[in-house]
C-alpha cells in the first residue's frame, strides 16, 4: 500500500528502476519491525495485568528496576553500532538483536518470579538496543540518498502499524480467553520468530556492508556511498552540531504521558480513554510518516527535524490552555503524531548522512542515544516542575522555551553548512 502511494510522482519511471521505488531492503526491514512490534507491544499491553493478576507481583516492585534498564539499553545501542561499523556487517548484529528479543519472549513464558521476569524484560531491552542502529544503518545504505527521508518514513510507518496491531491482538485474545495471558505470550513468541525468519531469509548477510555486494540489483548503491562520505570520523563538526541541537530539543520533549495527563487535569476526556490517546498518536504517526519523509527530502531534512518540534510546542499549548473541550484533546493527539512523523525517522536519516559510511551505525546510535537520554532527563525534570508550579504553568514554560530553541537550533545547523 505504501509502496504504490509513495510512487505516484515517478510513475513515468519503469518499475523497479533505481530511485523511483523504496528499496526492497527497506520494505523487508519494515516488515521485520512490524512483526517484532506486534510481538513486543502485545506483551507490553498486558504486562501490568499479567504481573498483578497471575504472577502476583506488585507493579511498584517492577517499576523500581525498570528505570535502570533504559540506561543499559542506551549504552548497548552505541556498542552495537560500533561493532556493526567495525565488522562492516550490520545485518548479523541487527539479527542478533532480534534473536535476543525472541529468546526473551521464550524466557517470559517460563518465567515465574520477580528475578526471572525482570531478566527476560531486560534481555528484551538489550535486544532492542542492539538492533536499532545497525538496522537504521542498513536502511540508509540501501536507499537513494535523495530519498532517505521517504525510506525512513516507509520503515517507521510499517513499524508503527505493528505497534498498533500488537495491543489490539492482545485484547482480542484476553476478550475471548479470560485468563489467556499464556496465549498472548505464545502468540507474541510466534511473531518474534516470524520477524527473525523474515530477516534471515530476505535480508542478505552483507546488506549495508561497504565492500561491493554480489547481488547485481544492489550494485548502484556502491557509487552512492562515495558521495555520502563527507568526513573522516563521527566527530565532524556538522554531526556534533546535529547531535547537540537534537539533544537540546529533546531536553524540552517532556513525553506524551505528561501531555495526556495535563489534558486529563483540564477535563478534556474521561480517564478510561487514556490508552486510546496513544493509539491516536500512533495512527497519526503512521499516516504521516511517509508524506513527512518525502517532504523532508524536498525541504531539507535537518530543517524538518528542527521545525518538527513546532507541532510539539502546539501540543503543549493545547494541553496548557485546553478548557476541557474535546477538540483540544484531538488536536494534541494529532500534533504529537505530526511531531513523531517529522522527527523520528528524520533523525536517523540526517545522522546517517552526516557521518562517513564507515561509521554510519555508530553515528546513528550516538544521535539516538543523546536524544533518548535527554528525553529521560526532560521527563524527570518536568515531573519536578509539574509539582512545583502546576501543569498549566509548567506546560506553558516548556512551550515558551521550546519556541525560542527552535530558531536557535535552525541557526546553529545552518551555520554548519559549507
Amino acid at each position: 500500500m505504501y509502496l504504490s502511494l509513495s510512487d505516484r510522482p515517478s510513475t513515468d519511471v519503469a518499475p523497479r528502476s533505481a530511485g523511483g521505488r523504496v528499496s526492497r531492503t527497506v520494505v523487508v526491514l519494515g516488515i521485520v519491525s512490524l512483526l517484532t512490534d506486534i510481538s513486543s507491544e502485545s506483551v507490553s499491553a498486558i504486562l501490568p495485568l499479567y504481573l498483578t493478576a497471575v504472577v502476583g507481583l506488585s507493579p511498584v516492585a517492577y517499576g523500581l528496576i525498570d528505570g535502570l534498564y533504559q540506561g543499559v539499553s542506551s549504552l548497548v545501542r552505541i556498542a552495537a553500532g560500533w561493532v556493526a561499523d567495525r565488522t562492516d556487517r550490520p545485518q548479523p548484529v541487527a539479527l542478533a538483536g532480534y534473536t535476543l528479543s525472541a529468546v526473551a519472549r521464550l524466557g517470559l513464558i517460563f518465567a515465574g518470579g520477580f528475578g526471572t521476569i525482570s531478566a527476560a524484560i531486560s534481555l528484551d531491552r538489550v535486544g532492542k538496543g542492539v538492533r536499532t542502529a545497525p538496522r537504521d544503518a542498513m536502511i540508509a545504505a540501501s536507499s537513494d540518498p535523495a530519498r532517505l527521508g521517504r525510506s525512513f518514513g516507509v520503515h517507521r510507518a510499517l513499524d508503527t502499524i505493528g505497534a498498533t496491531l500488537g495491543p489490539l491482538l492482545a485484547f482480542v485474545i484476553l476478550w475471548r480467553i479470560a485468563d489467556g495471558y499464556d496465549t498472548v505470550l505464545v502468540v507474541s513468541l510466534g511473531f518474534a520468530v516470524l520477524g527473525v525468519a523474515t530477516m534471515v531469509c530476505f535480508v542478505p548477510f552483507r546488506t549495508g556492508a561497504r565492500t561491493p555486494l554480489v547481488e547485481p540489483g544492489e550494485r548502484q548503491r556502491a557509487s552512492v556511498e562515495t558521495n555520502t562520505v563527507r568526513g573522516r570520523s563521527t566527530l565532524n563538526p556538522r554531526f556534533l552540531r546535529l547531535t547537540g541541537v537534537s539533544g537540546v530539543l529533546a531536553l524540552l520533549t517532556v513525553g506524551d504521558g505528561f501531555v495526556y495527563l495535563a489534558l486529563l487535569e483540564t477535563g478534556g476526556f474521561a480517564v478510561q480513554w487514556f490508552p486510546v490517546l496513544y493509539v491516536g498518536t500512533n495512527l497519526a504517526y503512521l499516516a504521516l510518516a511517509v508524506p513527512m519523509g518525502r517532504f523532508a527530502d524536498r525541504a531539507g531534512r535537518a530543517k524538518v527535524l528542527v521545525l518538527g518540534h513546532l507541532p510539539l510546542a502546539a501540543a503543549y499549548l493545547c494541553a496548557a490552555t485546553g478548557s476541557g473541550a474535546l477538540w483540544t484533546t484531538f488536536a494534541a493527539v494529532l500534533l504529537l503524531g505530526v511531531f513523531y512523523a517529522a522527527t523520528d525517522g528524520t533523525l536517523a536519516a540526517v545522522a546517517g548522512q552526516l557521518v562517513p559510511a564507515t561509521v554510519r551505525a555508530s553515528g546513528i546510535a550516538t544521535a539516538q542515544t543523546a536524544v533518548a537520554l535527554a528525553r529521560l532527563v526532560a521527563a524527570t525534570g518536568f515531573g519536578l516542575l509539574w509539582y512545583a508550579v502546576g501543569p498549566r504553568v509548567a506546560m506553558l514554560a516548556v512551550c515558551a522555551v521550546l519556541l525560542a530553541a527552535i530558531p536557535a537550533g535552525l541557526a546553529v545547523l545552518r551555520g554548519g553548512r559549507p
Binding site: 493478576a53 511498584v60 517499576g63 523500581l64 515465574g112 516470524l194 525468519a197 523474515t198 480517564v271 515531573g383
Partner: protein, 338 residues
C-alpha cells in the same frame, strides 16, 4: 523457488500452526472451565448471613471464578454462598460492600462499585459506581461502612514512561470524595514536606470516622502514616511499614515487611503503643496482600498457588513461631464480619 523462500514458507507454516493450535486449545480449556459448575459445596446467602462470616473473592477455576462468596466464621472451609457479583478486589462490613472491578476491552475500564447490605439474605443493592484511574489493588471500608478507600496502580504517569505509581482515594459510600490522598498535607518526622515522588497505598480505618492509617513511600523509603480526614493531613508514625491493617481492638497494625530488594514481603505486626515489631517468620512465602484480622490474635491473607490463578486464604497466629494454615481454600480478598 529459492531455498530461502522454501525455508521461510516452512517457518511461517510451522509457527502459524503452533500459534493456532495453542490458541484453540486455550479457547477450548477456557470454555470448558467457564461452563463447569464449582466443585465447592454451596449454600445460600441467607444461611451464611445469619451470623459472623467471611466475605471473599472465589478463585476456583470454574464458572464462578472471580465471584464474591461468603462462608460462616464457624466453618470457613465448609459450604460457601456465591453471588453474581464479580470483582478483582472485595471488602465488606456489616452494612456495605466495596467491589473493584476490571472491565476488559480494547480500552479496559476500572470501576469501584459500592453496595448496601440491607436485609440479611437479600441480594446486595448497588448504590454507587465510580471510575477508577487504573488497576485495582486495595479497598477497605470503615467499621461503620460509611467510608471507602481505593488504591489502584496507574501505568505511565510517572517520570519514567514505563514506571508505575499508585493512586489512593477515600470517598463517602454513595457520596462525595475526599480526593486523591497525594493532595493531603504530608508531615514526615515532624517536618512538613512536599516531595514529587510520593506514593500512597493501603488504607485502614479506625472507628472514629476521621482517622485512618496508610503507607506513604517517598525517597525510596516507606512510612506508616496516620491520616486525618478533617485536617486533610498525613503524619508519619513509623518506618518500613507497607499495607497496614488495624486490629479489631485498635492496638496493633498488621502489615507486610519488605526485604532489602523490596520485592519479597513477610507478614509482621506492630504494637502502636510500644512500637514493638513482631515478624511472623513462620510464613516463608512472599505475601502481597493487605492483611485482614480474623480476631485479635490471628491474621488472614490471600496467597496465590504456584503457577495458577488460584489463591487460598491463609490464617496465621501473631507469634513468631506460628505456622500458617489454609482457612478458606480457593479464595482471596478476605473480609471478616464479626
Amino acid at each position: 523457488m529459492t531455498w530461502r523462500t522454501t525455508a521461510f514458507g516452512a517457518v511461517v507454516v510451522l509457527v502459524t500452526a503452533g500459534m493456532t493450535a495453542y490458541a484453540l486449545s486455550a479457547i477450548a480449556e477456557n470454555d470448558r472451565r467457564t461452563s463447569t459448575a464449582t466443585a465447592a459445596t454451596t449454600t445460600t446467602l441467607a444461611q451464611v448471613e445469619k451470623g459472623p462470616r467471611i466475605v471473599f473473592r472465589h478463585t476456583g477455576r470454574d464458572a464462578e471464578y472471580g465471584h464474591v462468596g461468603a462462608v460462616t466464621l464457624a466453618d470457613p472451609g465448609g459450604p460457601r454462598a456465591l453471588t453474581d457479583l464479580s470483582c478483582d478486589r472485595v471488602y465488606a462490613q456489616a452494612r456495605s460492600v466495596s467491589c473493584l472491578r476490571t472491565e476488559r476491552g480494547v480500552v479496559s475500564r476500572y470501576r469501584a462499585i459500592d453496595l448496601a447490605i440491607s436485609t440479611s439474605g437479600q441480594a446486595w443493592r448497588e448504590v454507587d459506581e465510580t471510575d477508577l484511574p487504573g488497576l485495582p489493588s486495595r479497598t477497605r471500608l470503615s467499621p461503620d461502612g460509611r467510608l471507602v478507600s481505593t488504591t489502584v496502580f496507574v501505568n505511565g504517569d510517572s517520570y519514567l514512561a514505563s514506571g508505575f505509581s499508585t493512586r489512593t482515594a477515600i470517598r463517602r459510600v454513595g457520596g462525595a470524595s475526599y480526593g486523591d490522598l497525594e493532595s493531603f498535607k504530608l508531615v514526615v518526622d515532624g517536618h512538613r514536606v512536599a516531595p514529587v515522588d510520593r506514593n500512597i497505598w493501603g488504607i485502614t480505618f479506625t472507628d472514629d470516622g476521621r482517622t485512618f492509617y496508610a503507607t506513604v513511600a517517598t525517597g525510596g523509603r516507606t512510612y506508616l502514616v496516620r491520616g486525618d480526614l478533617a485536617e486533610r493531613s498525613l503524619t508519619t508514625v513509623a518506618d518500613h511499614v507497607e499495607c497496614p491493617s488495624l486490629s479489631p481492638d485498635g492496638t496493633r497494625i498488621a502489615f507486610k515487611e519488605a526485604d532489602e530488594s523490596g520485592t519479597r514481603w513477610t507478614p509482621a505486626v506492630l504494637d502502636l503503643a510500644t512500637g514493638r515489631r513482631t515478624v511472623l517468620a513462620g510464613e516463608v512465602h512472599s505475601i502481597d496482600d493487605q492483611i485482614e484480622w480474623l480476631d485479635d490474635d490471628t491474621v488472614l491473607y490471600g496467597l496465590a498457588r504456584q503457577g495458577e490463578p488460584v489463591s487460598d486464604v491463609w490464617a496465621l497466629d501473631t507469634s513468631t513461631t506460628a505456622t500458617p494454615r489454609v482457612l478458606v481454600p480457593e479464595a482471596s480478598s478476605p473480609a471478616v464480619l464479626r
